[in-house]
Symmetry: C2
Subunit: 205 residues, 2 copies
DNA sequence: GTCTATAAGAAGATAGAC
DNA sequence: GTCTATCTTCTTATAGAC
């Protein structure tokens, strides 16, 4: 990886752990293995590094959303998938989704950085709301709506059903971000949550 | 309020909005209406102000927990309360609880400060875990366990039932902290969540 | 592109008058 | 207890050699 990229990478790691104000240009440079003044040949200021990270994050998540919409908009194919989805398959899917968000380096570090800057930076608060509130709700509502339409789950309020599916997952994610030692408990709890969710909403076995 | 107390109060407000590193001693002094050097007659350093806030927070929440345990340990009286609790009463209780945590000045500011410092400060991460994970779980498990024992709700897994009750409330709280304009939506969603929770877990009407 | 040296300024903290 | 003046240290950023 070239130096310019490594600067972004190390800066993101530090920002996600300590927050923007607690990270010094010299810290970033040290991690990259250069001296602070050399860093200014690549970025004109500390703020420029931060902005480059935000740009990259927006780009990366736009791609991710696009990829999901492509599948999501093919409603016929998707509903076939979900009609044939057993409880074990849904469990595996839920766990895979959770572990990806929890462990994927970019997701994890972006999310932690957003958490630390959300009250100080309206732009980052909006990104957080989009990524962890609005997007999961619209995507999962669509999915659960299709599963319901297929007769596998029953509800007269898909929005609340989505809340009941997603809020525990979100909660467990923030627990693990704060205290990684709780991950085994979180994974066990996640499994039981999805099983119970299926039972509560009348999934056919 | 005396100056020493006002310093803590203004500092907490600033720390909860901007995080410790983004708040300068001069900012705190300005809010209090004095100059920075005067502040050092009351606290010997910026860190000492922060520590005093933590001490006060620990003290305040210990009192709160004690008050809840006193009621909570009187299981006979409590279970009588919950046996006679109608769905409307539970709705009102849930909303009251939510609004208290959301709007109470100390709760709100402590919570936001903990959010901003959790990855940087193990002590604050532990306090967060206790206040927003462990304590709600043990308290609400006890409550829901009693309501279940009274035959008003049905489950074979009180822990997951508690997760299903609490995670949406926690989620809505963090949404409002981040974006207060979503509060009307959150309150409406909270009501629907509790109603649906009652239905899913077979509450008798 | 990286370095050393250094400027420029910010922020925490102290001294001492009132 | 509060103020002005000041010290010290830290941090961002630039200059200029290699």
């Amino acid at each position: 990886m070239d130096t310019k990229q490594r600067i972004l990478d190390e800066a993101l790691t530090l920002f996600s752990e300590k927050g923007y104000a607690n990270v010094f240009v010299g810290d970033i440079a040290e991690r990259v293995g250069i001296k602070a003044p050399s860093l200014y040949k690549h970025y004109k200021s500390k703020k420029a590094i931060f902005d480059a990270i935000i740009d990259k994050m927006n780009e990366s998540f736009a791609e991710q959303a696009k990829a999901m919409n492509i599948n999501g908009s093919d409603a016929a194919a998707d509903s076939a998938i979900y009609e044939s989805m057993s409880e074990d398959n849904l469990l595996a899917l839920g766990r895979q989704f959770f572990l990806f968000y929890l462990h994927d380096d970019y997701n994890k570090r972006f999310r932690k950085m957003l958490t630390l800057e959300q009250f100080n930076n309206k732009e980052l608060a909006d990104i957080y709301s989009k990524l962890y509130v609005d997007d999961p709700f619209s995507y999962q509502s669509m999915l659960l709506g299709m599963v319901t339409a297929a007769g596998l789950l029953k509800t007269d309020n898909v929005e609340i059903m989505t809340l009941h599916f997603y809020a525990p997952i979100y909660f467990l994610l923030t627990v693990c971000d704060r205290d990684p030692e709780r991950e085994p408990w979180a994974l066990k709890t996640l499994d039981e949550h999805i099983k119970q969710f299926n039972r509560l909403y009348g999934r056919k076995k």
